[in-house]
Amino acid sequence: MSMKKNYVVETIRKAQLAQLLAGGKRMDERRLDQTRELKIETGLIQKANGSARVTLGNTQVIAGVKIATGIPFPDTPDKGILMVNAEILPMSSPYAEPGPPSEGAIELARVVDRGIRESEMVDLSKLSLVPGKSVVAVFVDCNVMNVDGNLFDAMSYAVVSALRTAKMKKYAVKDEKAEATDQWVPVPVERTPVSVTMARIGEKLVVDPNTEEEASMDMRITITTDDDGNICASQKGEASFISPAQVLEAADTSIRVGREIRAKIMEATK
């Protein structure tokens, strides 16, 4: 039989892990607020308008951007459409299964979407073509290729990197009809939101948890910040609580770590 990572053993290690953390140490020697190695490759999918493969430790996500024209939502007739979807591929982990998106995959996609949307990363008003009738629709689909914890951040960085490097046709509007020209322009990206996810194990928050740490965590919190250090989205997860003080600590960590990550994303997508 194949050798799978033994999650039972990991669960037994929980106490050990918490003890280590109390002393400020992690199994893989990282500092508590240290992320794993981040690798960003863009442009690998030529058929997409933009794409990025993000490798965060052993977690790998590929995001692809597809752009088309669409009809605006009735309540925002003069704004373009942005949609973020996620599929956790069955190849990504021994526990993933094919089929319609699980509750977890839906939360993942929505939390990443919220970070992008709420930071006003893409200026949707610049994607309006014919108010009430025609807008540019931007679809960002993500394939989770390999799971080793912290899908939220890996996917968020992939989406941000794909959008930052995406090109779309310039549209010409004539007689209330939008037609694609031959000219390529960038997607109107205004901000670079960065999501930072922390797990609580025992009493401590650790940044960018891997699978082993996630197996031992009680609580997860993701906070997205923008270029000015503003907080623009957050999501607490898992069936446990967090103290008010720890929420504020997490906010400060997310601003500090977010700044470092943003620099890496900017560098990789300039």
């Binding site: 509750e103 709420e118 907080i231 008010p244």
Partner: protein
């Protein structure tokens, strides 16, 4: 939540800090709570909060189906947040949306820390939240009602759970956003707390907050939650000590 913000041409809050519906920045909408209305459920609670009208009901502990979901050491907590097709301005498709699926998940994770699931191994506890009419803050209202329904069902709990959303309108921190403020405002931060344990069990944010306003909104949400907890207690007292079949209608005292 999602759906881009509508650029409101109207002012949501005036120079004196008065909101469209006349509330001050830190005031709650009217809230009323009733416990034990549903006949078949093991516990239930009904909440009206602003224009929100939400019924929560609890079944359990009961047998787990399918069997392979049984947890040997604790109860399986199930939770569904669902909106009636007529609860919103445009008719909603009855099938659960992605938004409802996410809210069901965070609601379950907000309630579970308060439920002593270890007391009911190998059983299921089901929490059904039905939004009959929706206004801003429906997930917090649903959690507040569901916590009462759990207590009404006699489920062992560490604490109640109570939710309140605060946020930003025109860069001012305000409490308890209604529908218009949620859609046209600048940020929404739903928070649920266990008031006696002083812990946060639901925490979501959207909008753009400076670090300072983030903290102010967050602390306001906790303060407001504690205030609503007083109403929860009163509603439970009325249910259990208010005489047979009695239900409670608690209006918030004017601030």
């Amino acid at each position: 939540m999602e759906g881009a913000k509508v650029a409101g041409t109207r002012k949501l809050i005036d120079g004196k800090g008065t909101r469209l519906d006349g509330r001050k920045w830190d005031e709650l909408r009217p809230i009323s709570l009733q416990v034990g209305l549903m006949k078949n459920a093991d516990g239930s609670a009904y909440i009206e909060w602003g224009k929100n009208k939400i019924m929560a009901a609890v079944y359990g502990p009961k047998e787990v189906h399918p069997k392979h979901q049984v947890l040997p050491d604790r109860a399986l907590l199930r939770c569904r947040y669902h909106m009636a097709p007529f609860s919103v301005d445009d008719r909603k498709n009855p099938a659960p949306s992605r938004r409802e699926i996410e809210i069901s998940k965070v609601t379950r994770e907000a309630l579970q820390p308060a439920v002593i699931v270890e007391d009911y191994p190998r059983t299921a506890i089901e929490v059904w939240i039905e939004v009959l009419q929706s206004d801003g803050g429906s997930r917090c209202a649903g959690i507040t009602a569901a916590s009462l329904a759990l207590a009404d069902a006699g489920i062992n709990m560490r604490d109640m759970v109570v939710g309140c959303s605060c946020g930003l309108i025109e860069d001012t921190v305000v409490s308890d956003l209604d529908d218009t403020e949620d859609k046209e405002g600048d940020g929404d931060m739903p928070v649920a707390i266990m008031p006696n344990l002083g812990q946060v069990t639901l925490f979501q944010v959207d909008g753009i907050y400076t670090r300072e306003k983030f903290q102010k909104a967050f602390e306001l949400a906790i303060e407001k939650g504690k205030q609503i907890y007083g109403m929860q207690r009163a509603a439970l007292n009325a249910r259990f000590f208010g005489g047979e079949g009695a239900v409670t209608q608690v209006e918030e005292a004017a601030e």
